[in-house]
């Protein structure tokens, strides 16, 4: 199998996810099944093929620099799980 339990833990860390031991085993099986299928892509030689990241031929979309109304603080903070004054409040970061 391509992906080890250790790899799953590492990727979970990058993804900011905490997985139980059961979830890690299940995830490992699923990822390996899917990646095995995805290996199909290696049947194709793509040496001189340009990658496509965007289908339409649009680049450098600019706008006039005209100030307009932005969200006021109360509306921007209305969904905050925790707020203080005009800030989002989070657990202490710096010791």
């Amino acid at each position: 199998m391509k992906v080890s339990a250790e790899d799953v833990r590492y990727i979970a860390g990058l993804s900011r996810l905490e997985l139980s031991d059961d979830e890690i085993q299940r995830m490992r099986t699923d990822l390996n099944d899917i990646l095995l299928y995805i290996d199909k892509l290696n049947e194709l030689n793509t040496t001189n093929v340009e990658p496509t990241s965007h289908v339409l031929d649009i680049s450098n979309v600019f706008q006039e620099d005209i100030p307009s109304q932005s969200l006021d603080v109360d509306r921007a903070l209305a969904n905050a799980p925790d707020r203080q004054d005009s800030y989002f409040r989070v657990p202490k970061i710096i010791e």
Partner: protein, 484 residues
């Protein structure tokens, strides 16, 4: 008169002639939703209390003889499209209480005509799935058989249209999420060209693939809604600066001599034989109306699903990084900031969303980027080139929307790869960014089958013209499930 069966223009006529009021029509639908939703779970919320203001505004516009196409028309909106002041959850626990402070461009354009928002419809969490079983809140049932799935991810919208719980709905389509549920539920689903409809306010899943589109009871309704929601938008730099035609203009035109490509790769071994027969009959019907069939090849079709599940999950892993419990939505407290992130995301996301974030993060992680993400983008070019070559010789491409009819609830939910493969006929179209529609074209195993019509970039008028010609010479679109 049965209000439930009316399409947009029929209802428009009654409203403008004052034979019914907006209030009567809206209440009729809200009652019907109350009656059917406990069984179908098509809607996550209805907008009873908000509806009143909308109803008054719409009625005033009608009274002043200033009604537009959608004035007073009750619609449903998929719950990953932001509606200002109205709960928008993406069927995820992580957004269970999110009330958007802004309106999506697509729904803003509906509001400018004073449409009636009936409610927000169920979906696979963050539109990730093909069955609507991945909703954190409930499983939507297919109105044609309550033991089967409605398809996904816009399963709530498709079920609501099929069960006459709205006149029409908006969905979103990243890999087939409008067309496959439309096919499973026997309704019309259109995925516009990438960039045709602004994505502003559509909660992002895979930004290079996502597109909003209509799910309707007939082709004309699809044209009317597309016309309303399309067009360039300064809030979405990927929306196309291409003028919007009147999509109703091409309806009713003769289809004689239109060249339709039949790709051999879409009639594969393992495809349901009854579905295949229904699709071949539909193609023959179009030929009898004057379409010219041409056999074509889209040789890289078999690589589409693998390509999609790298590109879509990579983009998703990046897009969903914003859900961290800081600015909105669910938060689980932790001993420090990192602990809060971990707990919030682990409890907030469901299994399929986690799987896709993990797969995308893996594909983008150091050392694997070239092998997976870059490789998939190169194959995406090959898939796009397949279509470009085909469209040199044909005007449209005809395929089944799905290799099967709707499957049973639970049948594929434990096998992610099997579930992914059910999108095999819709995914390439998103990777290439092309427009495509699914229209009802018959039944197999007593369940609806959809015909997919794919067009060149921005050639929705031709797609709609052929779809309309098919629809008006058959009666599949008039069939309804028995629910009462």
């Amino acid at each position: 008169m049965d209000i439930a069966r009316l399409n947009i223009n029929e209802l428009r006529l009654l409203l403008d002639k004052k034979e019914v009021s907006v209030k009567e029509v809206s209440e009729y639908y809200l009652d019907r939703i109350d009656k059917l939703n406990p069984r179908l779970c098509a809607y996550l919320i209805t907008t009873n209390s908000n509806a009143e203001k909308m109803i008054d505004k719409a009625q005033k516009r009608i009274d002043n003889k200033q009604s537009l196409n959608l004035t007073g028309i009750p619609l449903a909106i998929k719950d990953n499209i932001c509606t200002e002041g109205i709960l928008t959850t993406c069927a995820s626990r992580i957004l269970y209480n999110f009330i958007p402070p802004y309106e999506s461009t697509a729904t803003k354009r509906l509001l400018e005509q004073d449409y009636i928002l009936l409610g927000k419809t169920n979906l696979d969490e963050f539109a990730m799935g093909s069955s609507t079983e991945n909703s954190a809140f409930c499983v939507t049932k297919n109105p044609w058989d309550l033991e089967t799935v409605p398809g996904g991810s816009s399963g709530g919208s498709a079920a609501a249209v099929a069960a006459d719980m709205c006149v029409a709905a908006l969905g979103s389509d990243t890999g087939g999420s409008i067309r496959q549920p439309a096919s499973f539920c026997g309704v019309v689903g259109l995925k516009p060209t990438y960039g045709r409809v602004s994505r502003y306010g559509l909660v992002a899943f895979a930004s290079s693939l996502d597109q909003i589109g209509p799910i309707t009871k007939c082709v004309k309704d699809s044209a009317i809604i597309l016309k309303t929601i399309s067009g360039n938008d300064a809030s979405d730099s990927t929306s196309a600066p291409v003028s919007v035609p009147d999509y109703e203009d091409s309806l009713g035109r003769d289809i004689k001599g239109i060249r339709v490509g039949i790709p051999k790769e879409y009639f594969i071994d393992g495809m349901d034989k009854e579905v295949e027969k229904v699709i071949k009959d539909a193609i023959n019907h179009l030929i009898s109306l004057g379409a010219e069939p041409i056999e074509i090849s889209l040789p890289h079709t078999e690589y589409a699903v693998a390509t999609y599940y790298i590109i879509a999950t990579s983009e998703a892993s990046s897009n969903l990084a914003r859900f961290d419990g800081v600015k909105y939505g669910f938060r689980r407290h932790g001993k420090d900031l990192m602990d809060m992130y971990l707990k919030t995301r682990s409890e907030g996301f469901g299994a399929e969303v986690k799987r896709r974030i993990m797969l995308g993060t893996y594909a983008l992680s150091s050392g694997y980027y070239d092998a997976y993400y870059k490789k998939a983008q190169e194959v995406r070019t090959l898939l796009k080139t397949d279509f470009e070559k085909a469209f040199k010789n044909v005007d449209l491409i005809l395929t089944p929307t799905s290799p099967t009819v709707a499957f049973k609830i639970g049948e594929k939910s434990n096998n992610p790869l099997q579930m992914y493969l059910s999108d095999i006929f819709t995914i390439s179209i998103n990777l290439a960014g092309l427009p495509a529609i699914s229209i009802p074209c018959g039944f197999a195993h007593d369940m609806p089958v959809g015909l997919q019509i794919i067009g060149r970039y921005f050639e929705e008028p031709l797609i709609l013209q052929v779809a309309y010609a098919y629809e008006q010479s058959t009666n599949w679109h008039q069939k309804r499930p028995i629910l009462d």
